[in-house]
Amino acid sequence: MMEGPATVSAPLDVSEEKLVADLLEVQGISKAYGGIQAVKDCSFSVTEGSITGLIGPNGAGKTTAFDIISGIVTPDEGSVSFEGTEVTDWMPHRVTRRGVSRTFQITRDLGDLTVLENMVVGSPTTGWRSLLGSRILQREEDRAMDLLRFVGIDRLAGTVAESLSYGQKKLLEFASVLMPEPKLIMLDEPAGGVNPALLERIMDHIRELNQSGITFLIVEHNMDVVMSLCDTIIVMAHGEVLTTGTPGIIREDDTVLDAYLGRA
């Protein structure tokens, strides 16, 4: 039986939803690479407590938007605000510590660190002082183990991450995105290359975490996943937001289908 993670922000009272500002606000961001405009005057917001999907055909600018929000890329124009604070120019680790955590499309090279070490590597206490201290703080280890247990790979804690199966690496990445106690989790193609059983498991974890108050922003190509998991969907095409809506509305929207097929 899966248990929730040890420490998570308190559940959000639904009646308060309408009164809080959007958790994440992206306004008018533009970014060009070389001669190519990846995103252009793109604006959207993510409501606290939602599972929001970000979809769109190839080249729509979804990954660029993600990179801008998480601080990996600075936009040419526009701003990103999280919980009312502007985070546009922040470096990625600072954005993470503020409460926004993300995964990557391709599981990054985990090297010869063990699963547990991978979990604590992004710890805020890494720095000058921890040159002299012990390798892993007890409370971080406890939290990491809790999260590993949550996704079901705690027995692999001492295993070298490189030797994990693809599915296990995905679970590890999922667990490590939870370490900094994020309020917003950005997932980049969580269903990529994942078998149906594992996919169900991951979707259940997402729902569980969402129940306890974590907001999700998910880029995903697997439409079945998006339609059944997300409560709000943002559609991007050609670097801009095309439309937003619930899965039911988006699914019937001809302009969205046109965007995918090239009629737009």
Binding site: I36, I51, P57, N58, G59, Y166, E189, G192, G193, V194, R207, N210, Q211, H221, N222, M223, D224, V225, V226, M227, S228, L229, C230, D231, T246, P247, G248, I250, R251, V256, L257, Y260, L261, G262, R263
Partner: protein, 245 residues
């Protein structure tokens, strides 16, 4: 017998997950095909597998009935299967003419090479104009013309083109698709992968719709987009969101 048979092929990159998960389809000689489908369906991966860049983990690729698994790209070319990949596959430091001549690398007969070059210049007048220009300085559309012209040099039996209109303005893309239609008139079997499903299917006879590494369905090109299954595929099956979402 079909020209090319893809038989229950499973393919992935390096040690990564399976991208194609048991794909089967047949290509008949002289027909033009377009492969469409949502992202991650494995369309480009399929072309790369056939071209010899990616050996199948399971299953077979057969040309004229002969098993071609594990052949190198240059061997597939010698067998008449020409591949035009997605990213710039030009030699930037060479002129247009030199690029085209490289297309005829496998031709030993110099006069034949010259003949073919003339044919390409006729088919693509733009290239004749710019024959001494360095390929790296051409516009996107012109570069694509070079790759198409280069494919013509060895008079292949089959040309596979990955995203011919990628990064091109609509008008230029139309020109490219026109040229591709021209290939068909020459009797060359054409297999396209196109994001722009509308344009791609307009150009060909038959469509394959891929999803998650498998062939979902196939049929005459003009009927594909009207098929209700398309909406399900691209935008997910009609499902009510689960409780608690």
């Amino acid at each position: 017998m079909p020209l090319l048979e893809v038989d229950n092929v499973v393919v992935g990159y390096g040690a990564g997950p399976d991208i194609l998960t048991g794909l089967s389809l047949n290509i008949e000689e002289g027909t033009a095909y377009c492969i469409v489908g949502p992202n991650g369906a494995g369309k480009s991966t399929l072309l790369r597998c056939i071209a010899g860049f990616l050996p199948p983990r399971v299953g077979e690729v057969r040309l004229d009935g002969a098993r071609m698994n594990g052949s190198r790209p240059d061997q597939m070319l010698a067998a008449g299967v020409c591949f035009v990949p997605q990213d710039a596959s030009l030699f930037p430091g060479m002129t247009v003419k030199e690029n085209l001549v490289m297309g005829g690398y496998l031709i030993d007969d110099r006069s034949l090479l010259q003949e073919r070059l003339e044919t390409v210049y006729e088919t693509f007048p733009v290239l004749a104009e710019r024959k001494s220009q360095h390929a790296g300085t051409l516009s996107g559309g012109e570069q694509q013309m070079v790759t198409l012209g280069r494919a013509l040099m060895i008079e292949p039996r089959m040309v596979m083109i990955d995203e011919p209109s990628l990064g091109l303005a609509p008008m230029i893309a139309d020109q490219i698709f026109e040229k591709i239609t021209g290939f068909k008139d020459l009797g060359i079997t054409v297999v396209l992968v196109e994001q722009n499903a509308v344009k791609g299917l307009e150009t060909v006879d038959w469509g394959f719709v891929l999803d998650l590494g498998c062939l979902e369905f196939e049929g005459p090109a003009d009927g594909i987009l009207a098929d209700p299954r398309i909406r399900d595929l691209y935008l997910g099956k009609a499902m009510t969101p689960r409780e608690g979402a």
